[in-house]
């Protein structure tokens, strides 16, 4: 019986589940290669193009494009909108998640569906809804005009549309988390004599903080990058109502490729940064 294991034995070993046979490892690598190739063509290539085009005329031209007043205004507007929308949606999101996770009430499932609505509805429609409501021909258009309040084609419209589109992110993140964590700690705090606010800030908030941060990051990313809904309500007034995504489009249409891609690269960097923070948060959560 010299010469190692027999042929049958080898075949038996090879056929054991979980073993790397030649075919199974081939299949594995083919699939990895396929998905990598797909990603390269669809994701990495465009990303690279953004930066290559932005830097095609050198660093100087790249930084020059940020000195444009309209570009600066667009960046400022985007940050302003995010600064209004993200905190508001965070507060509403916590409130909604709290209500849904901690209380039983009629129409609860309907409320959950409503929260999902902005994700289901096309952003363009979300924008149009506001135009129909507050536009010159809209339901409240005349009333607003008489009082000299402009919502559509102005900053309030952009804020409203962005808020609508980004509403679900915090709430959707918190609802399952709160349901899973239960009420016991809050109840313990109450029996120990803590009031409502103290319970919230010392018990609930620390408990859900990582989920909350995650939701806020997603909400922020969407708020800065939103195009469709904002495009409908903004009116594209340069230097006044263009956010960064809209400004990219305008510059591109004017054949100012370096400018367009420079702003685009900034947006991309913001997105990448968001993703990095997100991964860090996910690591921390574990």
């Amino acid at each position: 019986m010299a010469g190692g294991p027999s042929k049958e034995m080898l075949a038996e070993i090879a056929s054991r589940p979980g073993r790397d046979t030649l075919i199974s490892s081939a299949v594995k690598y083919v699939f990895i290669a396929l998905s990598l190739g797909f990603l390269a063509a669809l994701l990495f290539a465009p990303l690279a193009t953004v930066f290559i085009t932005a830097l095609s005329k050198g660093w100087e031209m790249y930084f020059e494009s940020f000195k444009d007043e309209d570009t600066l205004a667009a960046i400022k507007l985007t940050l302003t909108v995010a600064a209004i929308v993200v905190p508001t949606n965070t507060i509403f999101g916590i409130a909604a998640a709290w209500a849904i996770a901690k209380f039983e009430f009629r129409g609860k499932s309907f409320l959950i569906t409503l929260i999902d609505l902005p994700i289901a509805v096309s952003p363009v429609i979300s924008g149009l809804v506001y135009v129909l409501l507050f536009g010159a021909q809209g339901w409240f258009g005349l009333w607003l005009q008489e009082r000299d309040i402009s919502i559509i084609f102005a900053v309030p419209g952009i804020v409203l549309a962005t808020m609508f589109v980004t509403f679900p992110y915090v709430a959707r993140e918190l609802i399952p988390l709160m349901q899973q964590l239960g009420n016991d700690e809050e109840e313990a705090a109450i029996t120990l004599g803590a009031g409502g606010l103290m319970t919230f800030f010392h018990v609930t908030l620390p408990k859900i903080r990582w989920g909350l941060v995650y939701g806020v990051i997603l909400c922020n990313a969407r708020a800065m990058g939103e195009f469709g809904a904002v495009s409908v309500v903004s009116g594209h007034v340069r230097g006044l109502t263009t956010t960064m995504p809209l400004h990219v489009e305008i510059l591109y249409n004017e054949y100012n490729f370096v400018g367009a891609f420079a702003v685009a690269s900034l947006l991309t960097l913001l997105a990448v940064l968001t993703l990095i923070i997100k991964s860090l948060v996910e690591m921390k959560r574990k």
Binding site: D184, E185, T191, L192, G193, A194, H202
Partner: protein
Amino acid sequence: MSITLDQVTKRYQGSPVVNDVSLEVGEGEFYVLLGPSGSGKSTLLRAIAGLTGVDHGRIALHGNDVTHVSARQRGVGLVFQNYALFRHMTVGENIEFALKVRRMKSAERRKELLRLVALEGMDDRLPTQLSGGQQQRVAVARALAHKPPVLLLDEPFGALDAKIREELRRTIRQVQRELKITTVLVTHDQEEAFAMADRIGVMNLGRLLESGKPDELYARPATRFVATFLGAANLLLARQTEQGIRFGAAPVNARRVEKLEGGREQEVVAVLRPEEVELAPTRDNLRTNFIANGIVEEQVFTGAFERMRVRMADGAANAHIASPNANGGSNGSAALLDVTRTQHEQRLFPLSLGQSVAIGVRRIHVLPTPLSSYTAYGSDEASCERLSQHPLLVELASRMKTRIIKRNEAPLVACDAPASAPVSGVAVIAAGQKTADQLQWLLQNGAGEVLVLPAHSSPPQKVLIHWADDSARRSTLAVAASLLRHVAAEAVYVGILPEGSGGESQRPFGVRTLLDARSEAQAVHGLEMRTELRFGAAADELQRQLTESQDPMLILGVSDPAQLRGTFGTLFTSGATYPMMIVYRPSKDSEGAVE
């Protein structure tokens, strides 16, 4: 009294999860609420803590009514099954939480508490760095930090393994003794209850069935549920006679049998603990009272004890009612008796499977319940069968862990000839035109309790209780209490006085009767019931009450069969649409039964 609960009721979506619970826990007492899941014990605990409101009743802590005081103000110490520690705070911060809320100095108290639960020096750990047992110790220390009036523990050992559980049990008991703090612990584990309790309260279906010292509850349970839930028990139907207890054909003149009060021969439910059963090769070798012969069917070695099941032969086989398939009219062939023997007994009389043995019993406890078993009466096979399948009857029998027998009696049609055998246990008949005649016939043939069931009836929500005269009071209350332990319904005693000036003048007397009835129900039977005083003809008033209530049931006590035709005749002629339980005790015998 540290904790006083007075008729506490909590409903969830209309049905009561805690039903009329009254309870007093003394100063420094360790009280254990024991019950299966869904029995309402945790809800009751949360109600004491103030985390759940109550729909009815009062809760007092140290004499202060706290029914409408918030959980925050009550400030009880509460320990949860899954610890509920603040996971982002260190052990020290967790313990100091209650003191921080109250802006009290905390460093010293923290040290003291950590010493108390044997976790010195763990201040700076995070809960996630501790084992389950340690986390629960922290939770106990945290709950005690602000010196709460009472300590409540909700299944605190549920998530721990056996060894740690035992250790933690000891710690908690020690802490409790040291601080002399009144403690209520909720558990579904009877071993845990025995190990820790000064007193145990057993809950089922939202009711507090019995409450007492562990050994007393174990030795003398009043209800089937407690008998089988606290330890193992064989339930057997027996006849209580002048000479003692009889199982089937075999008379048992057990010396240590506890005698039931009352001289009347009747069917009773006997409790045989597995360790009180003696096995011997023959009848003559038994040192205790012989009840039956049997064959060993199952044998399990469990370390200290040997557990076996013995199939009973002879007439005693019919007596067994606790086997799982006992409901639905089984003929008792599955009469398996649970027996445990010590190593010592095993050595004296080694047994193997299939061996035949003589069964003796050292001690029998007779349950004071008047509802022993059900017999469905019909004038033909089909009607018997139909009645024995009645959902309400099946439900009652399975909750009472008793059996339903079918009895085909032709004389039921004409009600003239005597029955083929005397009636024992609760007789059940279908409601119809001849209900009154059939009732009388059954009572003449020895029935003490008759259940009348309409073809369709939902489980009762409200049980009205009434008796024709005072001699039927005691037995009616006993039947009502026994029945209501198994039905989640509200109990109302209706006292009725004649209308007009005659009734008015009797009013003080009537009110006293009501109060007496209520306190007797509570003191003797642990039954909480509401009372109502009405004026008018008894039958009409009852009829009115029954039609006004949703899903009612009537429990009616009489001392003379003629009352069924006379005073209450109208109740039966109309063809009742609700279940009725008729309790009959002849007045001359009842004198003996009262004292």
